[in-house]
Amino acid sequence: MKFPKLDLENLKKENSDSVSMVERREFLKIGLVITGVFAGGTILSAISNMNKVYASLEEAAEKYPYKPHYSMMIRQNRCIDCERCMEACIITNDVPEYGYRTMILQRDVPDAIGQKREFIPVLCNQCNNPPCVRACPVKATYKDKQNGIVMVNYKKCIGCKVCVMACPYNARYFNEEKHSIDKCNFCFDTRLSKGEKLTACAAACPAGVRIFGDLSEPDSEVYKLVHQIEKPVWVIRPEVGAKPNVFYMKG
């Protein structure tokens, strides 16, 4: 058996000196994304999740069908569970004590090193492919053609509650006073339509957790946060395929 002869003396030197700064930076970025997997706990990395929601990051950037395309980025690890967002929501939108439009979930990880509890704010994800809208028999809940908010026409709702079942995010409840299903509408009737730029919860948050804005606007903060790849970005329950407009990240 013959082995190929290696000319070890004359091989090109390939140590780290020959790697350019640009290449180094790119390599480190990949590392950050991968380590994000572990930082995020149960949640996958930005690239893999964005791919589940959209075919590619480019497609995601192109396919914001609404103008403005309202969206929210939740910087999860900043949440301290002060619940001012919930309070503001209740006051602004007249939410009864038995229901909620937004909520802060708690997750305990007893064997974690250091911090052992995290908070996960949740609300209606204003999905691009909303299961609730498909299920409603009378079009009482619908996707607003202009801004993409999932709205409820309180006068039409028959109270069959199938939308509550259809929602993958437990975002809907029956409001007795309104005789209708009620849900988060990004404060459209109470704030946005009156010229306010932020939802009540985003405005009330003292820790800058809830970044609200127009995803079709490249200058907006929410656009920048969704489209960076240094830190992982994810959505909850991507496997459902509802294409949510509420994103999560840490940092």
């Binding site: 149960t42 038995y98 229901g99 909520m103 979930l105 708690q106 997750r107 305990d108 996960i120 949740v122 299961p131 498909r134 299920a135 409603c136 028999p137 009378v138 079009k139 009482a140 006068k155 039409k156 709702c157 028959i158 109270g159 069959c160 509650k161 199938v162 509550v164 079942m165 259809a166 929602c167 993958p168 995010y169 437990n170 409840y173 029956f174 007795e176 005789h179 209708s180 909850i236 329950r237 496997e239 459902v240 395929g241 509802a242």
Partner: protein
């Protein structure tokens, strides 16, 4: 020209219907009324009991409307469909099943199935009406439904299709029953066919209400829309055997040869359907083990968790295995054994529908996040009001059945 090919004029039908209120037929109805009044003591005892159940349930239902369903029913934000929805499914599926089984005779012309036709059409209307009554007390704004179902239809919604098709079915069945009474059998056949088609489409859409919820792993997929059709035929067979047997008891009569033969074929169809449902159930469980985590949790809850008693005792034993053995053993001849089998099946199937609806919701939406708010599976317990409304639905079927047996004299109108 053969009789059945003659064109039928609407004016003639109207004339016939008006004629039925005329002298001779009115006398017949009058004698029916007398027959009704001359019922036996036990008949009246049963009728009064069922009547009281309906009355008390109606009061409970009215009270539930008054205090609000949130307070009256044991439902929550997470478990929104409870025993009322499952009971509606139970009645609606039974109604369609009865239609399917009886249509083999009076729509498709298989002679052996003919004797059950009249009673079946009547029962299909009664069970569907009971189902509508129950769901009426679950929907928060039923009157809006009537309006917006018509003026704001969402054609992608299964509930819209289900409601509309069931509404159509009820109308077709009622027309069919009237046409059968005045012996317009050819037209009744067409009404029956339309009723059958709308019923099967409705039941499939009812399954799709659950099967198309892509956020709910336990239900998602084509399984339920298909399963409900097969399951409906089994329910229909059981209901037909059950009520025919009781009908003959109520009227204190013996079954004649054609009716015995009809019971035999219905019993055999029932055996086949139970066998198919056993396969459906087995594969649902087996595939459930390798499904998404949420579904695995739900399947575990059925096999060994809080719903295991329901599953093993009611669904498997009462709903499938024991009736299957009894039906095979009876060979379609031993009517008492078949009646026992059908009674057990009806009880088992009622719980089957309950588990189908409730177990699909006990795994919370945010289960996989592992948050403290939803550490384990959710619980649901039917409230007193819900149970009363369910009993009311059953009472409606009982009262309709008893009155029907008397007024229509054991549903003996011949269909040729």
């Amino acid at each position: 020209m053969p009789d059945e090919l003659k064109p039928v004029k609407v004016s003639e039908i109207v004339k016939d219907i008006t004629k039925s209120f005329d002298s001779s037929i009115t006398t017949a109805w009058y004698s029916n009324l007398l027959g009704f009044l001359s019922g036996s003591k036990s008949f009246y005892v049963l009728l009064i009991i069922s009547g009281i159940v309906v009355f008390v349930s109606a009061m409970a239902g009215a009270n539930a409307v008054n205090i609000g369903y949130r307070h009256a029913y044991g439902l929550s934000r997470e478990v929104v469909f409870g025993i009322l929805i499952s009971t509606y499914i139970f009645f609606a599926v039974t109604s369609t099943g009865i239609s399917i089984v009886s249509s083999i005779g009076h729509v498709f012309g298989v002679k052996d199935f003919m004797p059950i036709a009249m009673r079946s059409v009547f029962l299909a209307v009664a069970t569907l009406f009971a189902g509508f009554t129950v769901i009426f007390l679950d929907i928060e704004n039923p009157f809006r439904m009537a309006i917006y179902n018509a003026i704001s239809p969402n054609l992608t919604s299964n509930i819209w299709w289900m409601g509309t098709l069931y509404g159509a079915k009820l109308v077709f069945l009622a027309i069919e029953f009237i046409l059968l009474l005045i012996a317009y059998n050819k037209l009744a056949m067409y009404a029956g066919l339309l009723g059958l088609l709308s019923g099967v489409a409705a039941i499939s859409n009812l399954g799709a209400v659950f099967g198309m919820l892509h956020g709910r792993e336990f239900w998602y997929g084509p399984y339920i829309p298909i399963y409900l059709i097969t399951s409906a035929i089994a329910s229909g067979c059981a209901a037909i055997i059950f009520f025919t047997y009781l009908g003959y008891k109520v009227n204190n009569e013996m079954m004649d040869k054609p009716m015995q033969r009809a019971m035999e074929v219905v019993g055999k169809l029932c055996t086949l359907m139970v066998a198919i449902i056993m396969f459906f159930t087995a594969w649902k469980i087996i595939t459930g083990f390798v499904a998404a985590p949420g579904k695995v949790e739900a399947i575990k809850a059925m096999l060994s968790g809080p719903y295991s008693f329901n599953f093993w005792v009611f669904e498997v034993s009462l709903g499938m295995v024991i009736p299957f053995i009894l039906l095979l053993w009876s060979k379609g001849k031993n009517i008492n054994m078949m009646f026992t089998a059908s009674t057990l099946m009806i009880i088992g199937i009622f719980i089957m529908r309950y588990d189908l609806v409730v177990v699909g919701q006990i795994v919370p939406s945010y289960h996989e996040l592992g948050v403290n708010e939803y550490p384990s599976i959710l619980t649901y317990r039917p409230s007193f009001y819900e149970i009363m409304v369910v009993l009311g639905g059953m009472g409606i079927v009982a009262v309709s059945f008893l009155i029907g047996e008397r007024v229509f004299k054991g549903h003996k109108s011949e269909i040729h």
